[in-house]
C-alpha cells in the first residue's frame, strides 16, 4: 500500500522544470503497470495519464488492464481510442464517457493509429494479429492476409501516402498499400520488431527497433532498410523517437542500452544515459511543442526530459511507471 501511494504522490514530481513551452499538444503517457503491481492480470495503476500544464500527471480514462496507447481521430478531437489488454475503448466526448468497442475476440492491443487521411480507417497491432476498422473504430476485424506470423506490437499509418501501413511483427516489417487488406514482407531481417516510427519532418524516413537485432532505418518509407548504430546491434531496443522538427535528430533506447541519440540522421550515435537513474529505457519521444526536448521513460524509475538532446536530464514524474507509450495529441482541432 505504501508503494502504491508513493506512485500517486510521485505523479506530481517534475514540477521544478525548465520553463514550459506553450502547448499546442496534450501529452499522455500510457502506463501498463507500476512498480507497486504484483500481478500482471490485475491492474492497479494501469491507465492513460495526462500531463498538466503544471507538470502533474492525472489519470485520464478508465483504469483497465494493460493500457498501451491512445489515438485521436484526425476528424474529431473528442474521439479517442484507447488500446489495452482488455480491448479497444472509445470516447466520443473527450474522455467524459468511455465504451469498449471490441468483443471478447480482441485482446492484448499494443498499438493503435488512425489513418491520417481517412478517419474511418483505424489500425491496431495486437499480440494476436493486426486489426483494422473501417468505421472509425466502432467495429474491428483481423487483418492477417499475407502474414506468416500474427504477433505484432507496433503499427504506423503512412502520413504521406494514403492507404499505406507499416506493421512490425515477430517476423520483421510488413507493408500494406491497401489499408491493411493485405500485407507483404519488407526487405527486413527476420526479427521481432518492437517499435516503428515515421518522421514527421521527412515522411520517407522510417525507423524500426528490434529484439536482439538492433535499430534500422529506411529512407524509402519502409521498402528497404539498413542497420544503424552498430553498437546496439544485438540489444533489445524498445524505444524509438524521431524529431518532428529535424529529420536528422533521432533517439533509441532499450534494456541496458540506455538512451542513444543521433543528430546526423543515424550516422553517428552517442550514449546520453548519464543523469538517468537506470539504463533500461522503454519509451522515448520528442516533444512537438519544444524543439529539441526529448522525453524518456525508464523501467519503473521515472520519466525524464532533456532540452539538450540528453546531455542533461530533468525529473518528469511518473516514478514507478512501466510505460508503453508517450502520445502527443493536438489540444484542439
Amino acid at each position: 500500500m505504501i508503494r502504491r501511494l508513493s506512485f500517486f504522490l510521485l505523479l506530481a514530481a517534475g514540477l521544478r522544470a525548465a520553463p514550459e513551452p506553450v502547448s499546442t499538444h496534450r501529452f499522455y503517457a500510457a502506463v501498463g503497470m507500476t512498480k507497486a503491481q504484483k500481478n500482471t492480470s490485475t491492474p492497479l495503476d494501469s491507465g492513460i495519464y495526462l500531463r498538466g500544464e503544471d507538470g502533474k500527471w492525472t489519470l485520464f480514462g478508465p483504469r483497465i488492464l494493460g493500457v498501451t496507447s491512445l489515438a485521436m481521430s484526425p476528424a474529431d478531437s473528442q474521439v479517442l481510442l484507447l488500446a489495452s489488454a482488455d480491448g479497444i475503448v472509445r470516447t466520443n466526448d473527450g474522455g467524459k464517457s468511455w465504451r469498449k468497442v471490441t468483443g471478447w475476440e480482441v485482446a492484448d492491443v499494443r498499438s493503435i493509429v488512425f489513418d491520417p487521411r481517412d478517419p474511418r480507417k483505424v489500425y491496431a497491432a495486437t499480440t494476436w494479429g493486426p486489426l483494422r476498422s473501417e468505421d472509425g473504430g466502432d467495429t474491428w476485424a483481423l487483418a492477417e492476409k499475407g502474414l506468416t506470423k500474427l504477433y505484432c506490437q507496433t503499427i504506423v499509418a503512412d502520413t504521406a501516402r494514403p492507404g499505406r501501413v507499416l506493421l512490425g511483427t515477430e517476423d520483421g516489417v510488413y507493408l500494406s498499400t491497401n489499408r491493411a487488406a493485405s500485407w507483404r514482407r519488407a526487405r527486413f531481417p527476420t526479427a521481432s520488431v518492437l517499435r516503428l516510427a515515421q518522421s514527421a519532418a521527412d515522411p520517407k524516413l522510417v525507423a524500426a527497433v528490434t529484439q536482439g537485432h538492433g535499430a534500422w532505418l529506411s529512407r524509402d518509407a519502409g521498402r528497404s532498410w539498413s542497420a544503424t548504430d552498430l553498437s546496439t546491434a544485438t540489444a533489445n531496443l524498445y524505444a524509438l523517437a524521431l524529431s518532428p522538427h529535424d529529420a536528422a535528430q533521432m533517439a533509441i533506447g532499450g534494456w541496458g542500452a540506455g538512451v542513444r541519440v543521433s543528430a546526423d540522421g543515424g550516422q553517428n550515435w552517442s550514449d546520453r544515459t548519464a543523469g538517468l537513474p537506470a539504463r533500461n529505457i522503454f519509451v522515448l519521444a520528442f516533444d512537438p511543442d519544444a524543439k529539441g526536448r526529448l522525453w524518456a521513460s525508464t523501467f519503473e524509475e521515472g520519466t525524464f526530459y532533456s532540452d539538450d538532446l540528453g546531455a542533461t536530464w530533468h525529473d518528469g514524474g511518473l516514478y514507478g511507471a512501466y510505460a508503453s507509450d508517450f502520445v502527443f495529441l493536438p489540444a484542439r482541432r
Binding site: 491492474p43 478508465p62 488492464l65 494493460g66 464517457s97 499480440t127 494479429g129 504477433y151 506490437q153 533500461n280
Partner: protein
Amino acid sequence: MLGPLSSGDNPLNMLLNPVKRRSIMVLMTLLMGVQGTLAGAEAGRLSDAEIARRFQDRRREVLDSSVAAVNAADLAKGGYFDVAACLQRGERVDAALARFAKITAPMPTENMFWMFPMVSVMMAGDRNLDARARARIAELWRTYWPSRGDTENHWAMYYSTLYLAAQSYPGAGPEKWFNGKSSAENMAEARSYLEHWISITTSIGQGEYDSPNYLEEYVVALCLLSGWADDPGLKHRAHMLLDYMIYDYAVESLEGYYGGAHSRVYPKQIIAPGQTPAMALGWLLFGFGERQANGTVQLLALSGYAPPPILERIARDRDRPYVERELKRTRWRMRNAGPESIAIGDKRTVPVYKYSYVDHDFILGSTQGGLLQPIQQQTWSLIWRTGLPATKAANTFFGLQPYSSPVEGTMYFGGDWDTLTDMIARSKRDYDTPDKLPGGSPFEQVFQQGAALVALYDIPEGTRFPLVTVFFSRDLNNTDEDASGWIFAQGGPAYLAYRPFAAGEWKPNDWTGLFRSGDAGWVGPGFSEWGTGHRCYVSGALRNGYVVQVAPARNFPSYEAFKSAVRALPLKFATSPAPEATFTTLDGTVLHVKYGAPPQVNKRPVDFSAWPLFESPFGHAKRGSHQLEIVHRGERLLLDFQRNASEQSALPAQP
C-alpha cells in the same frame, strides 16, 4: 536404509521413535487402503438416492456453517458467500445486509475475483436484498471496471459473471455499465465467448487442464451459470460442462487427491496434494477427506448443483487398475509458437497427450513434456493412497527440469522480453529459482506406459538452471540407494523404483531458502508445516534421464521381492549423443525412448494422432466430438454438446 518393522518391536517405543513411527504410518496406510476398498465397494452399492442424501447432508453442513459465520454482534466477520447463504435461506438477514454494506463500501480492486462473489450474492440472495444493497450493487457495476484478466480461468469467471450480472438488469442501457455497453451487449459478448470456450474445450481439449488449484475457478463459473442462467440452453450447457470437468477430476483422483499431470499447480500444493481446492471440492462432491474452508465449496453448495451419482461411483471405483488417456492443449501461444504448434482458427497451440495409470493404491500420470503451460506445469507425478489426514499428507513423487526463461513468458504472455520473468516472479516468487518444483521445460521429454515412465533431458549449455530435480517427499519410507543404481522407496501401499541415468546429489527442497526465509510471498505461508522434511535428488548432467517403475505393494510378498524384480528388469540407456533408453517394465512391455524421436512400445511407434479426447473404462470421447460418454458398469451418462442434451440410461449387462 530404513529397516523393516520387526514383530518384536515394542509399540510404545515405536511411537517414540521417528523411524519406527514411519513404519507404523505405512501399516496404517495399508489398513486405510483396505478400508478404502470397502468404502469404494460400499459406494458402488449405494443407491442414487443414498448418494444424493449424503451429498445433501454435506451441502447442508456447508451452508449451516456459512450462515453461522455472519453475526450481528461482530460485523467484521463473514464473507460474500456467507452473506449469500444468509440471504438465500432468509436467516440472519439484517446482519447479512449490514455485513454486505460494510464489505461493499470501498471500491473493489479484485477484478474477476470480485465479480463472482458479488454475483453470488446477487443470485443466491436476490429475494432478500434490500433497496440499499441493490443500489450499491448497481452503482458498483456502473463505476468499477473489473479487468478480464489474462488466463482461461479469469475469462471463464469474468464472462460467466458478466452474463449473469447483465441478466439481472434487462434493458439497462450503456450508461448503467462500467464498459459503456448495454446489458444486451454485455450478455451477447459473454455468451459468445462462453459458447466458444465450451466448444473448444469439448472438441480440442481444455487449455488450463486438470489443475488441482484452478479446478475451482471453473466450478465457480459453471455452477453460477448452471444455477442461475435464465436461458435454459446456456444453463444446461453449463451444467453439462460442470459434469464434464468433475468427471475429468473424478477419473484421475484417488480418494479426492488429484493425480497425474497438471497444467498448473502451486509450490505448496505440488508438495501437499491434500491441501488443494480440488481436494476441498472432493469432500463436498464425493465425501472424501475432511471439510476444508473453501469459498468455491460454499458457492457450489449455494448453486444447488448436485453431481450425477455415476461420478461418485467412478471416483470411488478403484477395484481394477486402468489407463486414462486424455487430450488437452497448451494455452494459446502468441509467439515463439514452435514447429510443433498447430492452428485452431487464428490461434496456435500444441496438443497435450495425457496418460494416467490409476491403481487402487496409486496414480502415476504424465504428459509428454515440453513447455505445455506457462509457469506452473507439472509434467508428471505419482501420488499414493495415504492414511494421513489430507491436510498433513505429502503423498507425492515427481521430477522436473527447473526452467525459467523469457522464451516461456513471451510465448504465452504479451509482455516484454526483459521484464517478463520479473513480472511473473512478482506473484509466483519461486518461478525464477533453481529449487522450484512446478514448471515445464523445453528440454524434457517424458513417456509413460502403464506404471512405468521414462524421462529424458537434453539441456543446452548456458541454460539458466541446468538441473534435473526429482522430489522425494518426507512421506516416502524405506528409501534405499541400491548398488544397482536404482533408488527404491515406499509411498504408502505403493513401491517405487527410480533409476537416474546420471549421478546426482541429495539436497533439501527449498535449498535457496526462499520459502524458509519467508520471502516467497503469498505462495509461501505455512511452509514450516507443509514444506519441510523433504529432499530432492538433483543432477547437473546436461544429458540425462531416468526410469520410474511403480507397483502396488500387494503384488509382492515383500519390499525386497519388489527390489529384486526391478533389478532383474532389462534396462539399457545412454546419454550421448542423445539421451536414449530401452526398458522392459514389470509387466513385460518393452519401451524404447530416444530424445527427439517418437517413443516405441514393443518396437511399435506410439500413434499420437489417434489420441482420444477421453478414453478409459469410464469414459469415451473422440477428438472434435463435442460429446463425452461416461459409463460405469450398467450406467451411462452421455454429455452431448452437439445437441445440448444429456442422456442418462442403463447399459445392457456387460459380459
